[in-house]
């Protein structure tokens, strides 16, 4: 568990998982912009999609940490 957790939140100078945050934001913004025209609506929807993606990824991470107990 420790090794997977360290890989996730930061092991050494940088951790790969933090690179997911700008990607999530960018994907949400561009996807929402292709759906709607009004800027407030684009931003609102992008916020919701970002939270959904981040929540899903955290849930998967939680499952992986749970499964890797004692490994």
């Amino acid at each position: 568990m420790d090794s997977l957790f360290l890989l996730a939140v930061g092991n050494g100078a940088w951790s790969r998982i933090w690179f997911a945050i700008p990607l999530i934001v960018v994907i949400s913004l561009v996807y929402s912009a292709s759906r709607y025209e009004s800027p407030p609506r684009i931003l609102r929807r992008a916020g919701r999609i970002s939270v959904t993606i981040a929540g899903f990824m955290l849930a998967v991470l939680g499952v992986l940490i749970f499964l890797s107990r004692g490994v």
Partner: protein, 289 residues
């Protein structure tokens, strides 16, 4: 084709502009917010990926042993920033990727170090004139160096000849072209004071010769066991290489959405959601008697 409420002007032209530079098609359509959003997000992601991978993550190659078709197919949609990779792969002569290839004479800056020369070891900075030893033998070069050698006793002006050992190809994904040779010359103004040693350093490589240049798995004139470009990139960058590839691929895929938006307009009307929300709920089903 739908009938969008947004004025798309000439949608085909807008889509072409959106392909060439993310966001440009939307600026043409006067959709400024979207133009800024697309260009910042997509170009930002693309160049972040390029930077994470030290400029080595976007290239095209479809020879079987070093195939790079699928990754580049995604990156291609970013448009102009990704197109030089196609040109590097398809338009350059094969000799541009050969080591020790100097087809004609040229003069350029050199910086590096001199080793194996006893108390005259040190840093070197100056100019080198490279030329083929014979006009019909471009793979055998010769150099004439004029430089300042900085040793423990201070800076010394030196000049002499460089016998070849290795010179990186003209085209490669780095702004520095690595050169190794044997230097034999003397200190300027002191003819009796000879300088001889191994010269190692680099000469500059132009942006055109480095941007989008393919990483080579193997070259015909490789020595056995020599590190290839791809080996070196993985060794230098580790997982950041793949991370950079992913960023640039995602940027290309996102621009497909932007191109479609320039061509067809947004998928939904802005008031569509409100009208659905404010619509009264449907009547309950009539009771079955």
């Amino acid at each position: 084709m739908t009938t969008p409420r947004v004025n798309l002007k000439n949608p085909v032209l807008a889509a072409a502009l959106a392909f060439l530079v993310p966001g440009l098609g939307h600026f043409y359509q006067r959709r400024i917010f979207k133009g800024v959003l697309y260009s910042v997000c997509i170009l930002g992601t693309f160049f972040t990926g390029l930077s994470i991978g030290h400029g080595q993550t976007v290239y095209f190659n479809w020879q079987s042993s070093e195939n790079r078709t699928y990754a580049y197919l995604c990156q291609f949609w970013v448009g102009l920033p990704a197109l030089p990779a196609l040109a590097q792969s398809q338009m350059r002569a094969s000799t541009a990727f050969d080591v020790n290839y100097v087809p004609k004479h040229f003069e350029t800056d050199f910086s590096g170090k001199l080793a194996g020369s006893g108390d005259l070891d040190g840093q070197i900075s100056g100019h080198i004139h490279l030329k083929p030893q014979q006009p019909d033998m471009p793979h055998l070069w010769l150099g004439e160096l004029t430089a300042t050698l900085t040793t423990a006793e201070g800076p010394l002006a030196i000049e002499g000849q460089v016998e070849p050992r290795s010179l990186e190809p003209e085209v490669a994904p780095s702004r520095e072209r690595h050169l190794v040779g044997t230097f034999e010359g003397n200190v300027q103004g002191e003819p009796g004071r000879a300088v001889r040693g191994t010269l190692e350093g680099h000469i500059p490589r132009s942006l055109w010769d480095s941007y989008g240049a393919p990483l080579r798995d193997a070259r015909l004139n490789d020595f056995a066991g020599e590190q290839t470009d791809l080996d070196r990139a993985h060794l230098e960058l580790g997982s950041r290489f793949e991370l950079g590839v992913v960023f640039t691929m995602i940027a290309g895929l996102l621009n497909i959405l932007a191109i479609y938006d320039a061509l067809e307009g947004p998928a939904y009307d802005d008031d569509e959601e409100e009208s659905q929300a404010s619509r009264p709920p449907p009547d309950p089903l009539p009771a079955v008697t």
